[in-house]
Subunit: 285 residues, 2 copies
């Protein structure tokens, strides 16, 4: 057989399974980085459609193309609900996207970033520089430790905002989805404090979403679920918000016009809480 | 080699490509029906996660599990916007889901159903009986013909509502996405009439969505785009609505409480029009 002049690249696909029976398929240009941090497996792939892709324990964390749809909505809904978000705690989010959005708020004076796996921060700085500006912001203090332990030992009424930007509830993040952890978050919040967590998929993690909301309703006078359209998470993602005083449905407390945002608007701030009937029913609303 | 006691079924996956570079993968139990109607290929598969799946020309039309998220939103947003939707024209929608939702409205006196491919109706009646009740409703008149020609020959000011439930703009449906077709629809609408069409994916058919909206803006004093979360269409789908008089943002004109709906609510009626900033920008809003 005569060898061809040029060897064509293989047609490689990554399949992200949302359950055993369905998932998202992404065409891959190639692998960029793979390692085991000691806590979890970290992979970075180059996709044809979505730019670079970060996987933790073989689950999609983000792609360059659509990460803003997740990070903007996790951060700006609570931060614009609170009239004066000065002290912010971020649990997880080692990729830096959440910190980047938090540090866009000039009202924020101090951000404590608790990440269990420093290696995620290192590879993100190297391979996702556009997510990294928050790491270099002087208001941000990094604590490489377990978020569960950090909250247990935290002084009461320390934070205006707590954001939990975790992986799925298995492996390192499992304890971040328990009523006890949410109770510790509640204790660590000031009087007008707000807790917001990623609460899974309203399409394929409905039990998880409902369970988180139920726990929030027991702790907070204002407990709500809102959605963002995140393409590479199956098209839609849920966030649970618990607030001691300020209701997000009252709308943003100040203008977002100066910020370079691509998803969040004052209309989406309220609109994201309007849920399809079957999701309302899953949440017992 | 000793043969096993039992032959395990193959691990079969169907990949719906949204572009050359990504798509949705569904595990398949097996094929139920495959045929070529003369106009298009029709396939019905049994999936593990979503029940039965209908493909036209190898593109997902619907699954049993999530078709309500598309059909309810295509139909009820315009029908609840109009205070008295008596005469309704449905173009396409041979599976019956749109007719099923239209005929839930007691105000509707007459539905003209124009479907180019009678074979889609036949297989849907046989394999998707839960979508079929509208076919047997005495208010529904079926015309097996080309929707483009039907609209061209239609008397002016004939309908309160026109719904275009088409496939992608290639093959039989190509002419259903042209400014001329929308103009013919506009002419066929009564003074308070409303045209609503499926306008593609805000994730992977952004040019199409923007093009349809642009055409609607030229024809109608009120032209808007709204979204529904349709899992098997990539998570989110767009609809374009053009209205001669009634603005959907004024809210529904009457209560939907009596109808057995799973997606549409009076809140979603307005909330579906609240778009992420990048989609607003794609539409020139």
């Amino acid at each position: 057989m005569t060898p061809p002049d040029k060897i064509e690249p293989l047609d490689l696909w990554y399949l992200e399974k949302f359950s055993e029976n369905w998932g998202l398929s992404l065409r891959i240009k190639g692998g960029i980085h793979s390692a085991f941090s000691g806590l979890q497996r970290i992979d970075i792939l180059e996709t044809e459609e979505f730019g670079r892709l970060l996987l933790l324990d073989s689950a999609i964390m983000l792609t360059e193309k659509d990460e803003f749809t997740y990070h903007e909505m996790l951060v700006h809904v609570p931060l614009f609900t609170h009239p004066s978000p000065q002290r912010v705690l971020v649990i997880g989010g080692g990729d830096g996207g959440t910190l980047r959005e938090v540090t866009r708020h000039p009202q924020v004076k101090e951000v404590t970033h608790v990440e269990i796996d420093e290696e995620v921060i290192r590879v993100s700085k190297e391979f996702f520089p556009q997510l990294s500006p928050g790491f270099y912001d002087p208001r941000v203090n990094l604590k490489v430790t377990d978020g569960i332990r950090f909250l247990k030992e935290c002084s009461p009424k320390s934070y205006d905002i707590i954001l939990v930007d975790s992986t799925d509830p298995k492996g390192p993040a499992e304890g971040l989805f328990t009523p006890q952890f949410y109770k510790d978050c509640h204790n660590a919040l000031k009087e007008g404090g707000i807790l917001t967590v990623q609460a899974g998929s309203p399409y394929f993690q409905q039990d998880l979403m409902a369970r988180v909301h139920k726990a929030f309703r027991k702790l907070f006078p204002i407990a709500r679920v809102y959605l963002s359209g995140v393409i590479t998470y199956g098209g839609m993602w849920a966030f649970a918000l618990g607030s001691k005083k300020y209701d997000p449905l009252q709308g943003p407390s100040r203008a977002s016009k100066g910020l370079p945002l691509k998803y969040y608007t004052p209309h989406i701030h309220k609109g994201a809480f309007i849920l399809p009937k079957y999701i309302e029913e899953l949440l017992g609303l």
